[in-house]
Amino acid sequence: MTVYLLCFTLLLVGLYGALTKRDLIKIILSLGIMGYAVNLMIILFAYKKGASFAIMVKDGINSNMVDPLPQALILTSIVIELGITAMLVALAIRLFQKYKTFDITKIRRLSG
């Protein structure tokens, strides 16, 4: 139980950063932390103490192994996060070229 709570705390740390930080790069890093927290949580759902990987198991169904499906899901989700992070960083670079700052309180030509 403790590990899940710690994971959830990590998620909240990321959310706090994304909502309160004023620097574009820090916001991107906070989104990364949020993503990692969820990935870690899904890996932990599949974790079993003392079990081995599915590809290491020789004799099939009855042996002691961790659930391999979440690991496959997380690989997909990491790739997606890579793409989104690259997009965010590219947008941040363009914003810096236009506004000469990373501070979001100074980047506001759009009105509420």
Binding site: L31, L69, I84, Y99, R109, L110
Partner: protein, 491 residues
């Protein structure tokens, strides 16, 4: 089986466009128009052949708990028709509009990816696959919002991308919890196993999904990104985002997960009604104060999404019928209004209503179609918006929710008020405009005329004989959770 082609064709088109396009965008235009026409034909064909049946396509021959399945039922084909119809008119409008921007072939490739994502979200029956296709659509949407390469557009795209990735993270968390609880990723299996588990799990998951998909569909507390993103994008993309993206990624996913998987928990239906009413009223007031035409239309989108959510929340068959009909109608008239805004922006060079003036002489097609769309969105008969709003209001009265009926009536009147403002200042003002900066091309005109005709023609879907073959099967898919499970699992 048709559904795999609805994903393969746009994906292949996106790949081929980026492969063969050079300086000119001619091949990109030909390829993308061909792809979207074939998609529209396929989706219409599948809509009219599906009826009340359900077809399941299991990828690469695996059986259902192991495979990724695509589900073709009335709801998914109905949404596919809307998406591909708006995509076709949007492409027709884009051809001359997008030449003002740099690198047009990239636009077509991203556009095809956007369609891939939306078709995938709608077709899939696997919850993690839904997440993956959603990310594909969003990735293309972020890039397309920033396509104009001006400072405001980057700002809006960054805001959209931050909100989008927060909501995607929450949705992934919800999917993880569902998998941990049920050991399944196929939505029908989850729907079958979940009632045997602790009821608190499904409440937690529903709350997380409500936040995640609420952010995607811009319901009122989660709406902050929408006015910026939808008003900064190029006009055909605004129409795709406002017309179909928030419905395919937001409302459709909410319908599928809350009604078919979680079985419409009563607490959440009440939340839908409350959030829908807040969206209707507050967004209408905010729209009333706008002078930027595209921002006004973006706020109007939030308020119309509120109508759809209110209909879903009431939860009777009649209300869901109204909500579904409003999904179609809103896609048609809001896309048309964004085309009008784009045409005005191109020809007059402004989006400010105070500088627009009288366009009746200079742009007859634009001004007449905008009149039709405004009447339709404000809910005047005989246009389609009238019927869907009327059905939602009648359903609210029938189910003893008088307050929500009053809210819907007030929202409808406020909609009329701010579209009167658009017409009065924007198209029939005192300042008569004689000469235009750029001509409106035939493609743009025909896109506007097609949708203006559809504003009237879609009203016939409500006539009893036609309703029974078009909208009623969709309603029965939504209200019948066990039917969805049995049809998909083939029992």
């Amino acid at each position: 089986m048709i559904l795999p082609f609805l994903i393969i064709i746009p994906l292949l088109a996106a790949f081929l466009i980026s492969l063969i396009s050079g300086e000119k965008d001619n091949w990109a235009i030909v390829l993308s128009i061909l792809a979207v026409i074939s998609l529209l034909v396929l989706s219409l064909f599948s809509f009219f052949t599906t009826g009340k049946d359900t077809f399941v396509y299991e990828m690469s021959g695996w059986k259902i708990p192991l495979t990724i399945c695509l589900v073709q039922d009335a709801l998914s084909t109905f949404m596919l028709v809307i998406v591909n119809l708006i995509a076709l008119t949007s492409l027709m409008f884009s051809v001359s509009y997008i030449r003002h921007y740099a690198g047009p072939w990239k636009y077509y490739a991203l556009f095809m990816l956007l369609i891939t994502g939306m078709n995938g979200v709608i077709a899939t029956g696997d919850i993690f696959n839904l997440f993956v296709f959603m990310e594909i659509a969003l990735f293309a949407a972020y890039a397309l919002v920033a396509f104009g390469a001006k400072a405001e557009e980057y700002e809006a795209a960054f805001k959209y991308a931050v909100m989008g990735s927060i909501s995607s993270t929450l949705i992934l968390l919800g999917i993880g919890i569902l998998y941990a609880a049920t050991s399944n990723l196929t939505m029908a299996n989850i729907a079958e196993v979940l009632p045997t588990k602790d009821p608190r799990i499904s409440l937690w998951v529903a709350a997380i999904f409500l936040t995640g998909f609420g952010l995607k569909s811009a319901i009122m507390p989660f709406h902050a990104w929408l006015p910026d993103a939808h008003s900064s994008a190029p006009a055909p993309i605004s129409s795709m985002l406002s017309g179909v993206l928030i419905k395919a990624l937001g409302i459709y996913a909410i319908i599928r997960i809350f009604f078919n998987v979680l079985g419409a928990p009563q607490a959440f239906l009440t939340i839908f009604m409350v959030m829908g009413s807040i969206s209707i009223i507050v967004a209408s007031y905010l729209a009333l104060g706008q002078w930027d035409l595209k921002r006004l239309l973006a706020y109007s989108s939030i308020s119309q999404i509120g109508f759809i959510l209110l209909g879903l929340g009431i939860g009777t068959k009649l209300a869901i019928l109204g909500a579904l009909f409003h999904i179609l109608n809103h896609a048609v008239f809001k896309s048309l209004l964004f085309y009008n805004a784009g045409a005005v922006e191109m020809a007059v060079g402004t989006r400010d209503l105070r500088q627009m003036g009288n366009l009746k002489k200079a742009m007859p097609v634009t001004s007449w179609t905008s009149m039709i769309a405004s009447l339709s969105v404000s809910g005047l008969p005989p246009f389609n918006g009238f019927f869907s709003k009327l059905i939602i209001i009648i359903a609210a009265v029938q189910s003893q929710n008088i307050i929500y009926a009053i809210v819907a009536v007030i929202g409808s009147l406020l909609t009329l008020a701010y579209f009167m403002k658009v017409q009065r200042y924007g198209f029939h003002g005192n300042n008569v405009i004689q000469e235009l900066k750029a001509a409106i091309s035939p493609g743009m005109k025909s896109a506007m005329i097609i949708l203006a005709v559809l504003c009237i023609v879609t009203s016939i879907l409500i006539i009893p004989g036609i309703r029974e073959v078009t909208l009623d099967p969709v309603v029965s898919v939504i209200t019948n959770k066990t039917g969805y499970i049995y049809e998909v699992l083939g029992r």
